[in-house]
């Protein structure tokens, strides 16, 4: 099966104080779904990199919009994010990102 790899980078303002989590994981890889793994970079980092591996080829522009919106509203900074996708719809992607945001704020 052909896989498409996409990579996005976002620059933000480093957080003043950080506590709680270093790693997060939401979702799971199965048909129509995806998993998101996050590793927090050292405190001074201001660049987040998102690497997407997806089984649905040709949806780069939709990914760009969904991720742009997430990064703009959640102000995520200094993270390595891996997304492993098995054909999730934008609805599922958005929902998993919301779950991720919830995990980030709770922990």
């Amino acid at each position: 099966m052909a896989l498409e790899r996409l990579e996005f980078e976002y620059t933000g303002v480093p957080e003043e104080k950080r506590d709680g989590w270093d790693y997060l994981h939401v979702g799971h890889v199965m048909s129509g779904d995806l998993e998101i793994l996050v590793e927090r970079l050292p405190a001074q980092a201001n660049v987040s990199r998102i690497r997407i591996t997806t089984s649905a080829v040709g949806f780069g522009s939709v990914w760009q919009m969904v991720i742009d919106e997430f990064m703009a509203t959640r102000k995520v900074c200094g993270c390595e994010i891996w997304i492993n996708d098995d054909g999730a719809t934008p609805a599922v992607v958005k929902l998993r990102l919301s779950q991720l945001a919830r995990e980030m704020s709770v922990k």
């Binding site: 939709v62 919009m65 719809t89 609805a91 919830r102 995990e103």
Partner: protein, 560 residues
């Protein structure tokens, strides 16, 4: 004064014709005076009672199928019996198509053909099948009593006695309508039954209305169409279901309703005992249903959410559960449920606060269609549920509230107040394979051109839709005061589809401020909290447990 017009003198032509055929067919009954025909003689029986050009109602719907009689009809001699006009609810079985492939039938008036949609389209293009019209169930049933009265009805029952009385049981469905239309214009009724018994549990169809019985020694084919495995419900379904429960059912006080077949509505049913209960909505919403006996309703019934359920058909495995809950289901004196599609369609059309369905495509006007190019699938009953019947005159709180909010229809009838049924469409912005659900042009237009229809096959017209629900939020279309505002509200919930990208963020904000569009956030729903963990059951097995073992799912749904 003597009239100039010639007077009609013959009044029993139909009666004479059918009496002649009945006499002809007597050679196939087991003994003189009997109605019983050996299954091996069934093809010959059909050749005797059906003549070329007849209108034939072959019973079959989403659930029960007169499959044996369908097979026999395929095997009549096409040189003797041809050019039939099939007037039947669904074209669902391969045999329903074979009748056309073999040149026995030529014209079809029907409602629904989704299981054979590709083949129907192909037969039409090859000239093997000509379509009269595609109807809703109620329209077709209506025409049975006007200009499409069957000459011969081929129906299915569970059992019969020697007098011809039929027991159709929980899957009574379309049988009373077909038999009444046929017999009361002197037509011929043939019934396949599993067996002949001395005493029936109850009489669903009087024996005088049935001419021939074919005991085939096995039950007719029945499809468990409304069994949805809760394990296949996704978090997105849960999110949309939470929005419907909180933002529409709770808001309008929806007491009576019909649910379609989708996983979105299945999620609603399984969230009633949990999420809806936590919102304090028990006793305030979802008490009266016109719906097939969905196994996913069991937890809500067990928790006392549901007061009554009337059904179009039955559902395989639900029989004992329903029989044990006679306060909720429509149970006969014999202790078994009786469905009736025509009655339930009337109820779903006129007597409910809300309909919720799902669809494949929505355009910028809110018109929705499940039509796909190269497939002719028909309508079934959804358009009758999914519309506001102009003949309705009784009021309920939900109906009145929706009427008051209907900005675009207010004023056309002066100061008079009129209510409105809620017609809710649940649709994810992208469907399976990331195909866009919001489109600039419905595939229905292409299908219209291919099949030569007069109009595109629209399932729900945009003006009937009061609420469009996607994972992005609820568009309260009834609150819009112009077509332009409706379009903006539709785009606002269309997500990342091409149509959704046309949304103006400023306009969307204004629509949210006015309460015309509500996002999960506006409704106080945390998207991250939308999880299948809230469902009252997560598997078929858990539904069985909720039922105390009374629900007996077909083997194919048993994962344990």
């Amino acid at each position: 004064m003597e009239s100039m017009a010639a007077r009609r003198t013959e009044w029993t032509l139909r009666k004479n014709e059918f009496l002649k055929r009945l006499c002809e067919a007597q050679q196939f009954v087991s003994e003189p005076g009997s109605k019983i025909v050996d299954p091996l003689d069934c093809v010959s029986l059909l050749e005797a009672v059906i003549q070329s050009g007849d209108r034939v109602a072959l019973e079959g719907n989403n659930q029960k199928q007169a499959d044996f009689l369908a097979d026999c009809l395929c095997n009549v001699d096409a040189k003797r019996v041809n050019n039939l006009h099939m007037v039947q609810s669904v074209i669902a079985l391969p045999s329903h198509c074979e009748v056309f492939e073999r040149g026995i039938a030529r014209l079809a008036d029907f409602s629904y053909s989704s299981p054979q949609s590709a083949r129907v389209a192909q037969m039409v293009s090859e000239g093997k099948m000509k379509i009269g019209e595609i109807h809703t169930y109620l329209e077709l049933f209506g025409r049975y009593f006007v200009d499409l009265t069957p000459d011969v009805a081929l129906v299915a029952a569970i059992s019969a006695d020697r007098a011809g009385n039929l027991y159709t049981g929980p899957n009574t469905e379309d049988t009373p309508t077909i038999v009444e239309a046929t017999k009361f214009r002197q037509g011929i009724v043939v019934a396949q039954v599993e067996k002949i018994v001395d005493k029936l549990p109850r009489v669903d169809i009087p024996g005088e209305w049935v001419d021939f019985l074919v005991p085939v020694g096995r039950p007719c084919y029945t499809e468990p169409l409304f069994t949805r495995d809760p394990a296949l419900i996704t978090d997105v379904h849960v999110l949309m279901a939470m929005m419907v429960i909180k933002g529409i059912y709770g808001e309008y006080g929806v007491r009576s309703l019909n649910h379609g077949i989708g996983f979105g509505t299945c999620a609603i049913e399984l969230l009633l005992p949990t999420y809806a209960e936590s919102l304090g909505l028990k006793g305030k919403i979802c008490s009266h249903w016109t719906v097939n006996p969905h196994p996913s309703l069991i937890p809500a019934i067990e928790c006392g959410f549901v007061e009554s359920v009337h059904s179009f058909g039955s559902e395989v495995g639900m029989e004992d559960y329903m029989a044990s809950r006679p306060d909720v289901f429509f149970i006969g004196p014999d202790g078994n449920m009786r469905s009736n599609r025509a009655m339930c369609q009337v109820a779903g059309h006129y007597a409910v606060d809300a309909f919720v369905g799902s669809t494949l495509q929505v355009d910028r006007y809110g018109n929705s269609s499940a039509a796909v190019a190269g497939r002719i699938a028909g309508f079934g009953g959804a358009p009758n549920m999914g519309c506001d019947p102009p003949g309705r005159r009784h009021s309920t709180p939900s109906w009145l509230r929706a009427g008051r909010e209907s900005a675009m229809t207010r004023g056309l009838i002066g100061p008079v107040e009129r209510g409105r049924k809620l017609v809710i469409q649940m649709v994810e912005t992208f469907g399976a394979g990331r195909v866009q659900s919001f489109v600039h042009r419905l595939d229905a237009w292409t299908l219209m051109e291919e099949a030569g229809f007069a109009i595109p096959p629209i399932m729900m017209y945009g003006d009937a839709i009061t609420h469009l629900v996607t994972e992005e939020g609820i568009a309260h279309l009834l609150r819009c005061d112009s077509l332009k505002q409706r379009e903006a509200a539709i785009k606002a919930v269309a997500g990342y589809t091409d149509l959704g990208r046309e949304a103006d963020p400023k306009e969307t904000l204004e629509l949210r401020r006015q309460g015309i569009v509500q996002t999960p956030e506006d409704l106080g729903i945390d998207i991250g909290d939308a999880s299948t963990s809230h469902l009252a059951a997560h598997s078929i097995r858990e539904l069985v447990e909720w039922s105390g073992g009374l629900y007996r799912p077909p083997d194919r749904f048993r994962e344990w």
